[in-house]
Symmetry: C2
Subunit: 305 residues, 2 copies
């Protein structure tokens, strides 16, 4: 099947929005909701870098969409549409499974495929996705804005995707739940939307809780005090080293954010959130566990490249 | 240099628009011009597929931007911003030259880098770009809409990029002008904007004049009669075979469009345009040269994949 036939047969059925024009024109056309700010993100997943080459193609599609929607969630945005860049080998079975999975993921999140491009004949898969969303004017969340006195919050649980990676690599016993945390992350869209105009700063946790917290602290020009004992874990950590492994593993796609101490964050939406620290004047991270200071580990998370 | 440092040092200086937020947040935020329709396109260039691996990186950057802006031109849109997906080998010199060239190209076209993602450690370069633009409501051009009686127009000259490809491959003597037509196409933005609400149908010529004309005819449900002798060529064709080679070569990035016969298309803007045929009832292409019918060649242009 040539690229054009592939687009017409396999991608056009996912392009259910009028904006996509049935993928028949040179670009998509969308009348945005009036008076909103628009939010744009583009993340790339490459085989062997961001996922394991033998991960199920449908899960790769889910992850590609989810990590981009997580960026929208981190900006308090509501997703509207996506554009796909699908580049890789001539592997019809992989592509078919990928597109099936992408269709299911788009349906799950209520997002439409607006357009994109496909290339075959390459050595490995390089998958790009652009996600477009909207937010009430001025309510986009950002990493700058955390104020001394604010409380530091994180959604869901941390470190499960790192355990799931070990399962996927055969370094840990099979565990469907952990594997899904690694392969099929859940972007915190509802929470992100609830945090717009409420959180003072926020981002998604993609490279590890500590390294991402350090980035939020730097962008806001503040220090963050984190109580490691308060960090919500899906599975208990056997010892302090294991705890440090969890908070430096990546791929959580939870939201890390700050809000005034007076704000009833838990009441904003159904997503579980946990207070894990405070914003202080200064710079960098100050870790404690059960009231005792803990030295920063040498490695705070994934430093790509 | 790690990815994060590369983004901060090399990409952030190109992110001159407030929408980019200095590439410091998880996504870009843009307040679009009120009441406009927005236009989105995403094209991928892969080394060895869309360009020659030893093409100058700055020219590859130009082409990546230009082909996406050409899609916006084909929709009558005005560009606003772009997102970059830069994936490839660990080759700092190539990347530096690419980013330098991208910066020059963005400046030339007056477009800002809003965001994107980078990945290294891959076998070959896969370059994705999303371009975002806007158009007056309802004035986006499309491939459907050509009416019997309309005149078929094309901008600029056709087939030069095909000759430039032969130069780049060493199959033809060095010729800077032809090489530039292949490596540094000029998206017809001013013409595209002038055609919004005027042309009945339009697209850009990327895969070859004949194959793209066939697509426009199919989308509009009409036939197109094309006078091959009228097709504007940058260099004269020595014989009918050479003429067919020109109209089936790709990478022209000219605009092919239809307009009512009463419309003074040449007066719309400074871009040279040439009438090359008529819209008829029916389907497919009818070629003539000097009034004589010409059989359709077996290959009408590039069929990717």
């Amino acid at each position: 099947m040539g690229e054009r036939e592939f687009i017409a047969r396999r991608l056009a059925p996912l392009a259910t929005s009028p904006a996509a024009r049935g993928l028949a024109d040179d670009a998509a056309v969308w009348a945005p909701p009036l008076g909103r700010d628009l939010v744009f993100t583009h993340d790339v997943l490459a085989a062997g870098v961001h996922y394991l080459p033998d991960d199920p193609p449908g899960d790769v599609a889910w992850k590609l969409l989810a990590v981009n929607l997580s960026d929208l969630a981190a900006m308090a945005a509501t997703p509207a549409g996506v554009l796909l860049g699908l580049a890789g080998p001539d592997d019809a079975a992989w592509r078919d499974a990928f597109i099936d999975g992408l269709g299911r993921a788009l349906q799950h999140f209520g997002v439409a495929l607006w357009g994109g491009d496909t290339v075959s004949g390459l050595a490995g898969h390089v998958l790009g996705l652009t996600a477009i969303g909207w937010v009430e004017p001025g309510k986009a969340m950002g990493r700058a804005g955390a104020q001394p006195g604010d409380v530091l919050w994180v959604s869901g649980t941390i470190g499960d995707a790192g355990l799931g990676l070990a399962v996927a690599q055969g370094r840990a016993p099979f565990d469907r739940q952990l594997l899904n945390r690694f392969r099929r992350p859940s972007p915190r869209l509802a929470l992100g939307q609830a945090l717009g105009g409420v959180a003072t700063a926020g981002m998604d946790v993609s490279d590890g809780l500590l390294i991402d917290a350090q980035r939020l602290a730097a962008a806001s020009g503040v220090a963050l005090a984190i109580d490691l004992a308060a960090v919500p874990l899906g599975r208990p950590a056997a010892d302090p080293d294991e705890l440090l492994a969890r908070v430096t593993a990546g791929d959580d796609y939870e939201l890390l954010f700050t809000a005034p101490a007076s704000c009833d964050v838990a009441a904003l939406c159904d997503t579980p959130v946990t207070a894990i620290g405070r914003v202080l004047p200064g710079a960098g991270l100050a870790l404690t566990r059960a009231g005792q200071p803990v030295a920063l580990p040498a490695r705070l998370g994934w430093e790509h490249g």
